[in-house]
Symmetry: C2
Subunit: 137 residues, 2 copies
């Protein structure tokens, strides 16, 4: 009869670096399973929960959306780890990331150009705000 194993949600939040409210949110949307409860109704988490939450957090940090994570978790759980399916999800996301980078790099050039011109023409008639107005992005 050892003490009830289990972390309170606050402890789990502290250990995992995920906001307490966010953990409850993940439970509401079915990303985290419902944990056990104390008699009074407080959640008690076990190591498996902590692992799953860590996985979710990493995946979020890597920019996966909730649906992507759901898919990843679905593939990770059963014995049939279809590596191919995982690869598809990850490389789709990788493509998104690369597209975003390309977009941002173009943006960066435009913005940097604007700032540059702004610095140069200390007393231009109209400031480079007008460039924004004219330039095609």
């Amino acid at each position: 009869m050892p003490g009830r194993t289990g972390l309170t949600i606050g402890k789990l939040a502290g250990l995992s670096g995920v906001n307490l409210e966010t953990i409850r949110y993940y439970e509401r949307i079915g990303l985290m399973p419902e944990p056990g409860r104390t008699e009074g109704g407080h959640r008690l988490y076990e190591p498996a929960h902590r692992q799953r939450l860590a996985f979710i957090r990493r995946a979020r940090e890597l920019g996966f959306g909730i649906d992507g994570i759901r898919a990843l978790l679905g593939l990770a759980e059963p014995h049939r780890r279809s590596c191919e399916a995982v690869r598809v999800i990850v490389s789709d996301h990788l493509q998104d990331v690369r597209t975003k980078i390309a977009d941002l790099v173009r943006l960066e050039a435009i913005l940097a150009g604007t700032v540059e011109r702004c610095r140069d023409t200390a007393m231009a008639p109209s400031c480079s705000v007008l460039d924004l107005l004219e330039a095609a992005a």
Copy 2:
């Protein structure tokens, strides 16, 4: 007595490439001024509106938030075009963009590595999903 000059909101949407509902949204939040109306209450836009909307669209494409655009518009309008203030807003945003690029590039490396390993180890015991679980982002 020439015809009422003015575009309907639908025409403006078509010309500007901004969704009709988004134009109404911009009006609600005070980004676009209220245009004139027909007797029946339909909006009628003049060239000045079209210009302002084009400015907003470009700025959005460059990743400025609504507040930033509001500030930019505020600086663009009066005679006192304080170029310096504009430069501050734009270069703040530029800094954001650069930070985002750096983040995404790190992400890209991690994801690309995962996909690569996935491709290599055609029959690894556990697929590189576990890498996500282990790797610090």
